[in-house]
Symmetry: C2
Subunit: 318 residues, 2 copies
Amino acid sequence: VCGYPKIGRILRLDSGLTELFEHPVHAEEKVDGYNVRVFRHGEDLIALTRRGYVCPFTTDRLPDLIDTSIFARRPDLVLCMEVAGPENPYNAVAPPYVKEDVAAFVFDIMRIGHSGFLPRAERLALVEKHDLPGVPQYGGFALTETARLYDLIRELDRKGHEGVVLKQDQVETVRAKYVTGRINLSDIRCTSNAVHQLPPEYYTERILRLALYLDETGEKPTDALYRQLGSALLDGILAAIDQYRREGAVTHPHRCRFRDKANAELMVASMKRLLGKNLMQVTRLEQQGDYWLLEFEKVLPKTTGLLRNLLRGGLVYD
Amino acid sequence: VCGYPKIGRILRLDSGLTELFEHPVHAEEKVDGYNVRVFRHGEDLIALTRRGYVCPFTTDRLPDLIDTSIFARRPDLVLCMEVAGPENPYNAVAPPYVKEDVAAFVFDIMRIGHSGFLPRAERLALVEKHDLPGVPQYGGFALTETARLYDLIRELDRKGHEGVVLKQDQVETVRAKYVTGRINLSDIRCTSNAVHQLPPEYYTERILRLALYLDETGEKPTDALYRQLGSALLDGILAAIDQYRREGAVTHPHRCRFRDKANAELMVASMKRLLGKNLMQVTRLEQQGDYWLLEFEKVLPKTTGLLRNLLRGGLVYD
């Protein structure tokens, strides 16, 4: 199973469309979750994370996420999908249209042993035929129709969506991500307690994207927007300081449900192996209805170490 | 002449004082300018920048900045001083107490051929005796007197000062910088148009320092503060985009006065050599009263290149 390639980002629609594309583009929802590739291996279905590890959580929940019967007829396929929602083991954010648990959104299909994707029309036909949850489609846009595309983006911005991926009908051609202005604010708000855990450009890039978005859409920054940005940056750090002082560590809580207890235990074991034994603390694993509920906290080691040094009055050189 | 060593920074006074120091500390104004070392070489007086280059500007203006007769009696001395003010060739910021041109503030004295500084008492006596402009002194503090030190810091914060350097009487012992909360906002505001020119941690570190300052002083972040932070970050980037669109480059303007035209020309030549010929554009060099007025613009090459790529619709990978 080939890796999922990186998709580039444009920060301007006005010039970006004609600069990058030759044919009309289709705008598809960019779902704010984590990327998995799902395929059949012998009798089993397996979900791989972006980095190529088996994800015990997604693998466990596949029957809830998609109609898996497609693999009986087409065992050669690899479904590329985004899994998003408040109850997942990886992300702190969730799109507004997934209110609970998680949901899957198929955005590409590959074949085992082949690099590259099926043509867009073929993917959409398979999604339709097998009743798969495809990513929302926002229609086609000629390269001159930037005004109509802005209207879409402004609407997504208002609704709190992340943005779109622009694709062409042709296989193996360029694609590009384009995100809304406000998703940058919510990304910053959700991660600002992870000081030094994320690279500093995580924040500066998003502030730059927000500025380019305002410039491009002609929106003037309002006092409310300034306040949202300032508070998105500061509140998380202040919360991290508070948490460190109370608990001696800065952590992110996660909560997710499994069908099979063994998979929850596998998830715990694999995260402990990946993150380090002491950096993941299970706070709850118990049966709830048909599911096993797992709650755990991920320790942010760099944030915790930084605050330990700073609050102790340590010297820093810069 | 030895280099001026790096001084570490503490982000907390409460724990930092007792963690670092053994004896009472003296708080001295931390002047927000550029650091030079001034000494006599044959018949000439020379000012070296932090990096060890001759600064034609400071060298030219020495008779305006200090009473240079000290070097006739003490040719062995090296004056370490901060030069600050709105009309300087390096910094965009100036402390509120230097309203025009530049002024010098002596904060340490070394001897030629010796590393390390003269004891604090000896330095203050020399400053007094030779009528030198010393850095403002805010008195001594026992290591338990953090409350009194906070009062000072809050007052400096209100007045827009950068902060203090804490020193002990003993030579060669540890020193530490501590800055006010609001200087972080003004640093960010003054530099946010230099996107990608400064490292991203320039901004994230200052936001972190601001948060630690709020936490330590017990100030709750207000809407006004959030707004100031958001606007400090966004306005500069928007201004850079505007300037790039108008002028095809993002630049910082500088203006400074020289006694001697030859030194102004030397300054231009040396900056062109350091920055690159095309990255410094002289816009004015003319006599004004007793001085030669030099105005020039420094091009920010990374900011300009970044905006060129982004506004053209270029793809970026992150």
